[in-house]
Structures are given as structure tokens and as C-alpha cells.
Symmetry: C2
Subunit: 155 residues, 2 copies
Amino acid sequence: MNNTESLSYDELLETFRTILRKNRLKFTAQREAILKTLYEHPEHFTPENLYLLVKQKYPELNTGITTVYRTLNLLEENKLVTSLSFGTQGKKFELGNKPHHDHIICEVCGKIVEFEDAQIEELQQKIAKMRGFKLTNHIMQLYGICRKCQETQNH
Amino acid sequence: MNNTESLSYDELLETFRTILRKNRLKFTAQREAILKTLYEHPEHFTPENLYLLVKQKYPELNTGITTVYRTLNLLEENKLVTSLSFGTQGKKFELGNKPHHDHIICEVCGKIVEFEDAQIEELQQKIAKMRGFKLTNHIMQLYGICRKCQETQNH
DNA sequence: CTGTGTGCAAACATTTTGCAAGCAG
DNA sequence: CTGCTTGCAAAATGTTTGCACACAG
């Protein structure tokens, strides 16, 4: 699992540039704008959200949604961002510069709360091992109703 | 969580008919064919897979993929099937007639193994409660490499 | 009979790809 | 200069919807 501690923007940028160099890829203004926008907005993004935000913050770059998709895929392959799946409605991405964690999602308002639990992670390792699997990753998403929405429903 | 014990096909069918009646919906040959196919093939299906299988088993019904989607949605709304998300590549469905369980997925060959773990379920309840959530559901998917694929890779 | 269900084609939503021009190294 | 990168438009995927006819209740 990814146990990287939170990175400063400069460290993150350096990591990104190293990845680019290693793959003989180029450091472009669009790629930087996308990385910076992800860094400055710690929410969970759909590619569409991110695209709109980048366009708004850096209108002069005229970044296309294609580039946002390509950059997110690049970042995900290199573990700088991670994604959550939501059935047909595509994915949400978040910057992977914090320690591993999972999510609780409110089914009413869509709010996402992060948590981590070492005990569950241990049990997962054990379960995989017993079944002959070498664990590389996991998704755990809890769905429920948050406090606020529970109160609203009772009125 | 869904703790229904495994149902026989007749029980399943009766449950389905009750749901239909309750919603003033009709029991049709296509809906039965889809349910029966799900019952007889305990694998995890994409809507496309299921569509092809139903077409093959009941060619005279000439079932359309539209109907497969509509029926899967109907069954899912009524908790007779559950679905796993796979990013952009759509969902996989399985009949919900067995006790709750989660999945380990091989990243190389796509094999899916089921497991259940009461201890993790308990921890999940606790985590949600501590954060003010009323838990309704969860997704836990472990990704790894199965024994067979580990062996193949070392050759 | 009434109104729901069906298949088909078209529409949709999201993501990927082909291409010609632009720009990083 | 070379060849990766970009935006655009088009294609590809996966899923949903509008419609006229079919059929369950």
C-alpha cells in the first residue's frame, strides 16, 4: 500500500518531473497547471470538475479535457493520484500525497469522509494470503447516511 | 448488510414475482429468462456477458440488451442482484441470493474470489459510527495477483 | 382492454484515439 | 531538429431513452 507522507508542492513537483524524465516525457505548462490545481484543491475530482477548474485558473493555457484525462492517467499509473469508482458515473480522483486511507460516502448528499484503520489493513493482508493472493491494492468504500442528512430526514 | 441465506430457484422466482406484483409490473418470459440465467451461472456478469448468454439459451425470445439493462436495474433496486464497479469499464453483477461477501480480484487474469470476514464488518460499523454515519452498505475489493499468475510470472 | 414491456434505433455520457500543428529538450 | 504533446473532432464504450407494436393481467 502507499505509505508516502504528505508532500509539499515542491516535493510533489520534483517527483513529477523525475517521473517525466525517467519516461522521456516533457514537462509542459498544462501538466503543471493540472498538478498544481490538484494540489491546491484537496477535494475529490471528476475529470470534468478538474478540467473546468484548470480552465478557470489558467484560461491562457486553453487546456482541453483530453489533456486532463491523459494527465490523470499518467499520474495514476505513477501512483501520484488514486481513483475511486462510482459505477457508471465514472471515477473520482484525488492526489495521492497523503498516507493511505479509505472513504465513507454519504448516499444522500455525496459527502466523502476519509479514514484509516490499521487493523482492517492487517486483516485484509491475512485474508489475501490465505487465498494465495499477493495483495497489491484495495478499495474499501463505506456507504451510509451522514449525521446532517439523518437529522434532515427526521423533519 | 444483506444476510439472506441462499435461495432455491423457486424461492427466488417467488420473491421476484412478489416484487413485480407489488409494483404492478408484469412477469414476462424475458424477465424470467434473465433471472434463470443469473441463477444457473453463479459467475460475475457484465450486462453484455449476460445478454449473450440469455440470447444463446433462449434464442426464441430474441431478448435485447436494453431489456437486460432494464431488468438488472430492476433487480438491483430490489436487492436481488448486487454490482461491483470497475472504473470506466462498467459494472459486474451477481445474484444477491447468498450471504454478504466481498471480493479479491486478480489484476492479471481477472479471476474473482469471494470471501467474508465478520471481524472487518464489525470494524466498519465502528468506524462509521464514530464519524456519525449510519452505515447502509459497503464495497471492499482487494486487488492482487493470484497464485497461478504469480507462478506464471516467475517463468 | 389498459397500460406495462419489448426491441430497435437514436441519444447520451464518459473516455480514448487519429491527426496536424506546436513546442520542450 | 526530433519527437512528444496539444486541442480538436471523431470514434469508441457503456448505458439510457423515445417510440410503435406486443402482450400480461
